[in-house]
Symmetry: C2
Subunit: 135 residues, 2 copies
DNA sequence: GCAGTGTTTAGAATAGTTCTAAACTTCTTG
DNA sequence: CAAGAAGTTTAGAACTATTCTAAACACTGC
């Protein structure tokens, strides 16, 4: 039983987005089932194979809109490789360098102490921790 | 007085790179003076204006080689924006979101506790902390 | 159902980076 | 210090990831 309602049209509407068929199809792929990390290309391949194909431009648009609406979080791990993470809660990442795999880990056990105060006139938006590992 | 010798040909040779005029010119821009963060484009603009212009392809080649040789460290903060950092010691970054500015901060005061053990068969290569701040 | 506005689409455009192959340096050896 | 071998540079083409364009289409409110 998912923590959040599987009524995707309602969830999109709540986020201020019209529940078009394309967005609903993408939301289903993204949020049905466990948390995931996707790239635009990867999601496009998936949705192309589905009953409701969606153009690549729309996949990009939707991912950007979902991120802006707080439904997704963008994680940049390598140049020219942007992942979207359906887990928007506080957590950090393992990045497995050779294969480009990304794994979440919860941040509740992790404490970061001794961070300097941010530059004048700025406030902290987020702290990203990426643990890069190799085989 | 720089901590490391300003004899760039020697430093390049020590890193296993032929000290060509182009690489020496780039090394001078990068390592003479304080630590810096550059993008390929930015460094290309700089070196084009110098006495020893260098093509963009060579700037890319040199940055990649310098990074592979451990002379530079690559920092990925935003999709399609790769910075090279002349500071290769242990430290982390502030990223000022609106203007894309990057600032170092030393890691000696920072402690990260409670990191989970890495996935089986892997070892930690590096832990990156990026503190994203907004105005 | 019918506007009216927002969305989707294919394809072109753009940005950043890497590739190619010919010309040119640098290094080694005699 | 000349000659050859090997590594490097270059302009431009190619490539990858992403965004833009403008015409067709679909969701919403009346």
């Amino acid at each position: 039983m998912p923590a959040t309602s599987p009524d995707f049209p309602a969830r999109l509407r709540a986020a201020g987005l019209r529940p078009t068929r394309q967005r609903v199809a993408l939301a289903r792929l993204l949020f049905e089932g466990g948390p995931r990390h996707v790239t635009a290309e990867g999601l496009h391949v998936e949705v192309k194979a589905s009953r409701m194909p969606v153009s690549l431009a729309t996949v990009y648009n939707a991912l950007n809109q979902f991120r802006d609406a707080g439904l997704l979080r963008e994680v940049v791990v390598a140049p020219g490789r942007s992942y979207f993470d359906t887990n928007t809660g506080h957590h950090h990442h393992f990045f497995i360098e050779p294969d480009g795999e990304l794994h979440d880990f919860p941040s509740d056990k992790v404490t970061i102490a001794g961070l300097p105060t941010p530059p004048k006139g700025t406030r902290v938006a987020r702290v990203d921790v990426i643990v890069r590992v190799r085989r």
